[in-house]
Symmetry: C3
Subunit: 353 residues, 3 copies
């Protein structure tokens, strides 16, 4: 692996190696104090994301590496007035690995074409956020011994959640997963995700209530339901309590079940759950740091390419997605890929018309 | 000591040990280059304080440790939308020690209840700022050989100054201190501070002029007088010159007297004083860094608590102080402590009604 | 060299030593991993300059040193309310070297009077930016074997460009330089720069077209032409294409010619030039980092001055330049120097009236 743009880029074997390294770090951090000595990470956050930013920074620092970059849009405005390509050429001249978060879909892929060093996607709009998925899978593997065979409840807004969709796709790499999809009907998983699960022989059950299925779960993955997602605000008021996890609802759960959440939470998990031994969401954040350490230990130590290959110069975007990076960076090449027989933009994955 | 929330938490013996370590660092910095190797400090500044922030950061860096965090309210807005508890659970999963500055009184105490690692209060509103006091005492001890027996002039606004009140309280740990309290009558020390000094057998003399007492002082601690503090602006104009230190006024001072100031100054010390050997305020800032090194060398190396104890969940704040952290973080427990027989909020120290 | 305020401060021998160190670093970075171990750099950017800031930061980090400071005006507002002198006294108490960028001409010089540690000018308004010049000369020397004897085309706005003027002045230290000054007549080099070149026996040819002279050049240094610089916007429209470098125009250039640019570019170099082997502007940015490493390796390791010399206190500015630092910092001494027989402000170099 040269870059991490999409979790789908990883083979099962590459994932197993990544987890083994993360696990080794958790067992003995002292052995990794100099793993990235002399290496420098660029941290380019074109939109704020304190949690992801802190997790990457501390991951690099704990490997003996160092960090520079910007943390929010006001600072990054300083980097405006030049193309993404020019920024990446500059930054990858200073750094050994580039971590970037942007509101533009496909931006990390675009950066990887021009970078002299590996690029990590720390979230590109609503598109991908692969290191959240590595955090999730690391948590399950570390605390439950593995991912194969788990019964996973996904609860909340399953229609709009990037985290949930990424997790479902990633779990196709594992054997014998069973999903319980717990959401109001308005916020059920989209049809293409259902199709994906069927194609990959993943079993799933869709329900509207949490309490009935909780005893069957090995993992309960909570997500936030936003009032704005409902057409009818009254519908929101009627529903919201159903999807709030409380200590009382936990009573019927398995003793070893994990409660997970990508954080930040608002009120979908009551504060009294925090002290239950099944509450794994704060550990999940910490395990995300270890997973990022495992990733950076590999990528920041890869050899630098002094000259990158010439890239075709585009003339006009082929993609119509208004949030795609090709809309604003007009020199990008017209890259197309096939997904399930459909031609898609190779940056943002939107189907071409 | 697990956390440093209030200088009063330190016993005289703990202070002596802390100073001995600070002094050892000043004598031979080279011995401390790896003291915090592999350790990471979170620096959470919910309000800007460049000087304190830089002092803590450089302290950690000079011990071979590393730093992440945010420096001002606009960045920290990224951390909003979640409770202080959740932020601290996240951050203390990434860090080995947490330094925090907030506008909310009692916030550092609140953070310490949930943190897996030590918490240092770098100022919580008008409440406490214990590392300023360690900087002050380190300066006196280093330059004068000790604090016991000193004649200390406190000059300026003694009514509103957090720094001055903290210093008076801290000096109760020492023997045979004599204060000269130099201020306009409108800005004299509050009655409860006078009561505190009497209870602790500290001698003090209140005067309105600086020049008459200057020959008696071992330390002259200057603070700023703000025009806004005066009811009558004319009174300010009549008074301000009296409390400005000039080279001429210094002529009658002892040869070894120290001029101190918490900085930043505005015009309460004339620029021509800077080159006088008695001017100690810039050294005082530097000694503050060494004192913070001594503190972090201890705290950042303390073992992490994987699970923190369950904390009672509050229902409604018992404290009425509108600047108290319990006003906005409603899950905080209703902790009460007795101070001189009076029930006080255990977060902000305000008396309960 | 104690401070780097102006490239003119360096003798030819000091430059040769600086380059030799930069070159040694490029040949074997591994030997320099601990050169600044335990040393801390203050990075004070009173105006944003992402590229310069990143270059200095990564230079220090790659030497094993560490960095603190602020990156933009909103953060630095926190440092306001005190004089530059007080800020520098504080910061130079925490740091081993101070790098500063300001909008005020002469600010780095002013800082150097009060600093306990070396000061580097990272740009002071339109005045000086000496480390850009070190980056430029390092690039030429590394890629062409030396600077003596080069034919250098300077193309674009030669009237207003600080970078170009600094480069011309710096090249007076070398032998047998020939300049081709390529610009619209409205934006030709100022008369005093022509006088400078004549006094220093530097040959130069002024032309308005790029294509005719390109075959003679060893270096083509491109700069941006801003529409706002033209009195007549139509004149801009008629001219702009002439000064845009394209792959086609490159066809007649020498095979080893370097295309340089201080970056960021807007559209004065077409994207299709980037993959030509003569395109050196991204390498130039990277070489700037190595040149800064060579500089910091020296300055950050110089002994600290515990007490700085007393500096005369000014009463009123002698300089009339409204952008000069003496206009706002009224305690600065009335320093004057002679340049070519004319009395000039020793901070901003403006002629006194």
């Amino acid at each position: 692996m040269r870059h991490l743009i999409d979790f789908g880029d990883l083979s099962r074997q590459e994932w197993d190696e990544l987890y083994a390294r993360a696990s080794g770090i958790m067992d003995d951090q002292g052995k990794y104090l100099d793993t990235c000595r002399g290496k420098v990470m660029a941290s380019l956050f074109y939109e704020p994301s304190t949690r992801t930013n802190f997790s990457f920074q501390t991951a690099m620092l704990r490997l003996g590496g160092t960090v520079f970059g910007f943390a929010d849009p006001s600072s990054s405005s300083a980097a405006k007035g030049e193309s993404l390509k020019d920024t990446i050429k500059m930054v990858s001249g200073y750094a050994d690995v580039v971590v970037m978060r942007t509101p533009w879909e496909g931006a990390a892929k675009a950066a990887s074409l021009y970078s002299n060093v590996p690029v990590v996607n720390a979230g590109d709009g609503g598109h991908m956020h692969p290191t959240q998925t590595t955090a999730d899978l690391t948590t399950m593997t570390r605390l439950l011994g593995g991912v194969d065979g788990l019964a996973v409840g996904l609860c909340g807004d399953l229609k709009n959640g990037r985290t949930v969709h990424s997790l479902i796709k990633a779990m196709a790499k594992f054997e014998n997963i069973r999903f319980f999809l717990i959401s109001p009907r308005e916020l059920a998983v989209p049809g293409y995700m259902r199709a994906f699960m069927r194609e990959n022989d993943m079993r799933f059950t869709e329900v509207t209530g949490l309490e009935a299925v909780i005893p069957q779960l090995d993992v309960l993955y909570m997500t936030r339901i936003q009032r704005e997602r409902f057409v009818d605000p009254l519908e929101y008021e009627r529903n919201k309590g159903i999807y709030v996890l409380t200590r009382r609802k936990l009573e019927r759960a398995k003793e070893k079940m994990l409660v997970m959440h990508p954080l930040p939470r608002v009120d979908e998990i009551a504060v009294d759950v925090d002290d239950d031994p099944r509450a794994a969401y704060f550990q999940q954040a910490r395990y995300g740091m270890f997973a990022r350490m495992a990733l950076l230990a590999d990528l920041a130590n890869q050899p630098r390419l002094e000259r990158t290959e010439a890239v075709e110069i585009g003339r006009a975007p082929v993609c119509r997605n208004p949030r795609c990076i090709t809309q604003t960076e007009d020199y990008l090449p017209p890259l197309v890929k096939k997904t399930g027989g459909v031609e898609c933009c190779a940056f943002c994955d939107a189907a071409l018309e």
